[in-house]
């Protein structure tokens, strides 16, 4: 895909739902083009709100999100939808759709008013279904699928949209470990083969560390730290962002940072110290 590269940035951004109480403010944000960026942070830290604001699903309370230097609020919505797609956290679809019909909706922004689908549309849908390994399920109805299959169907819809930027809010929730990895591998492959810019929210820190080029940690209403996984995943960051004590070691096979949280009461290392301490303080 010879897509032109697009740059997503933001300046003096305030995001949230009530103007008097922004959930998150940040001075500047630059999403690395052609890379995988992951937003991490505790529940309610505003990472989803930030993602929705970047996707123009939510208007910023202050500041601007820019696409190639232009305020996205001024980019025509349909045009924006050919550049940027968003997979929300718990998406809802029209009743009774099949997997293929869902994917066909991804072609909507590319089609003119009352235009029928073209060969290019059909190819895009076929490719999206193939990439998400859904060819055999394409005639199946969405409500008959398992959680993992349904999530792949939604991702396939975003793939069919063929946007150079994809935003995904917790694409691995409700999936078992094998399906989580399947989804992440799919996104990684997409990024490496087509140069698609991916921004996602993930809860699993080790997945974030393994699959991201760039990590943004949000806490206390702002960006705590950002950078390569090895720069962000440190004992201090984990303590300050998530309020957990953890050791960070390199993954024995991949070398990515591996976060190993310690049980709450056992800041002292020895197992018998752990049992003694909890016994003393809690009982």
């Amino acid at each position: 895909m010879a897509e032109p590269t697009h740059h997503l940035t933001a300046a003096s951004l305030a995001v949230g739902y009530s103007p008097s109480r922004p959930v998150l403010t940040l001075d500047d944000l630059a999403i690395p083009t052609g890379r995988i960026t992951t937003l991490i942070g505790s529940n309610g830290s505003g990472k989803s709100t930030l993602l929705r604001t970047i996707a123009r699903a939510l208007d910023p309370l202050g500041g601007v999100v820019s696409l190639d230097g232009d305020d996205i609020a001024h980019v025509p919505r349909r045009q924006l939808a050919t550049i940027l797609s968003l997979l929300p956290q718990s998406p809802t679809a029209p009743e009774g759709l099949t997997v293929r019909q869902l994917c066909e909706f991804g072609r909507h922004p590319h089609r003119g008013f009352l235009k029928r689908s073209t060969d290019a549309d059909r190819t895009a849908v076929d490719n999206a279904l193939a990439a998400a390994h859904l060819e055999e399920l394409s005639g199946q109805r969405l409500d008959e699928l398992s959680g993992g299959q349904r999530q792949r169907a939604w991702i396939a819809m975003c793939l069919a949209q063929q946007t150079p930027i994809m935003l995904l809010d917790e694409p691995t929730t409700f999936l078992d470990i094998a399906h989580q990895l399947e989804v992440l591998d799919l996104l990684h492959e997409l990024n490496r083969t087509t140069g698609t810019t991916i921004v996602m929210v993930l809860h699993d820190l080790n997945h974030a560390a393994q699959y991201s080029d760039h990590v943004i940690a949000v806490a206390d209403g702002g960006v705590h730290s950002r950078g390569r996984p090895a720069e962000v995943f440190t004992t201090e960051t984990l303590r300050e962002v998530f309020d957990v004590e953890a050791v960070v070691i390199p993954h024995p096979v991949t070398g990515a940072p591996l976060c190993l949280p310690l049980p709450r009461a056992s800041n002292a290392a020895a197992p018998n110290a752990y049992s003694r301490q909890t016994g003393a303080s809690n009982l």
Binding site: A57, Q79, G96
Partner: protein, 344 residues
């Protein structure tokens, strides 16, 4: 009808036969509309044979009954029924609630309040223009209020429905106030409250046809957006549409359709709820089928209700709106009970 009783979703096998069966169903509904139309022209205080009707159409001895009385009446109920059904369908999509309809959300009541105000406050000579004006004003004020208030409290579907219910209650109170203050006009007011096709003439048919024809292009745009609007707001915006604007388009179109219907037949309730629900049960939820099926079923239902109202208490008439409520109320309860049972 047994198919409706069994399940909320059409139990039609997947594949090529689906389209064929839906097409057959749609043809059956068209035939039903034609049968009701013919019956509506033949049946009444003076029964006419189909041959006499044809003769009347050509200017024969029954020309007055056929052309000035029966034909306009059937025409108006068909058009108003279709308009109310599509209006209900669009409102249901806008507020994401299958129980929304122009009467539930306050549009019918607002329009009827406007019409009633015109009836009691404006001298009889000026009423021919004051009543449509009153309807437009009433419907617009209610819609503006719903949209502004919904903007304040958030434009999510359920809040829009609740705001509409509150406004419907206010408009209802306004109508009852007018009835108490002007008891001598309450007979006319009752027609706006209940809805009736009594006394409609060929001008009504012409005006309503023109109005609905003017609405048609917007209805087609809405049909195209109907599928998309069932996506969540974030997906809808990801696919290139502003959710609030889509909802606004649906609401305004629904008001235009319902307003036209109210202007000719008064405040008919339940139809906007009944027809789309029946259409969804029979034809599924793809808009290309749903919109025409709802319109046809709405036309058939209102026309049949009017016909029944003319027959049940001969030589007196029961307003079509009351017949619709008598059929619609139990149907709604039946739907609610069945859905409760399906969900266990």
């Amino acid at each position: 009808m047994s198919m409706i009783l069994k399940s909320g979703r059409p139990r039609i096998p997947r594949g090529t036969s689906l389209r064929g069966r839906r097409l057959t169903g749609l043809i059956a509904v068209v035939v039903l509309v034609i049968v009701i139309t013919v019956a509506g022209i033949c049946v009444g205080a003076v029964p006419l044979a189909p041959a006499q009707v044809l003769d009347g159409l050509a200017g024969g001895p029954n020309a007055f009954i056929v052309q000035e009385y029966r034909l306009p009446r059937v025409g108006v109920t068909l058009l108003a029924g279709a308009a109310l059904a599509v209006s209900g369908l669009l409102l249901q999509a806008a507020v994401r609630n299958p129980l929304a309809s122009p009467d539930v959300i306050g549009i019918t009541k607002g329009a009827a309040l406007g019409a009633m105000s015109a009836t009691v406050l404006v001298p009889a000579a000026a009423q021919s223009w004051a009543i449509p004006l009153g309807i437009a004003a009433g419907a617009s004020v209610v819609t503006a209020a719903i949209l502004v208030l919904a903007g304040r409290v958030g434009s999510r579907g359920s809040t829009l429905a609740l705001v509409g219910i509150a406004i419907a209650a206010l408009a209802g109170a306004g109508m009852q106030y007018l009835m108490t203050v002007f008891p001598q006009k309450s007979d006319q007011a009752m027609v706006w409250l209940a809805g009736s096709a009594y006394g409609t003439n060929s001008t009504d048919v012409a005006l309503l046809s023109l109005w609905l024809a003017a609405c048609l292009p917007v209805v087609i745009s809405c049909t195209r957006l109907l599928d998309l609007s069932a996506f969540g707001d974030d997906s809808l915006s990801s696919l290139g549409h502003a959710p609030t604007r889509v909802r606004m388009l649906f609401v305004i179109t629904a008001v235009a359709l319902a307003g036209g219907a109210v202007a000719t037949v008064g405040g008919i309730g339940f139809l906007g709820l009944l027809a789309p629900h029946l259409a969804r049960t029979l034809f599924g939820s793809r808009p290309a089928w749903l919109v025409p099926a709802s319109a046809l079923l709405g036309a058939a239902l209102l026309s049949a209700a009017d016909l029944a109202g003319r027959l049940i208490a001969l030589p007196n008439e029961i307003p079509a709106g009351i017949v619709a409520a008598v059929i619609g109320g139990p149907y709604l309860l039946f739907v609610l009970i069945r859905e409760a049972r399906i969900r266990g």
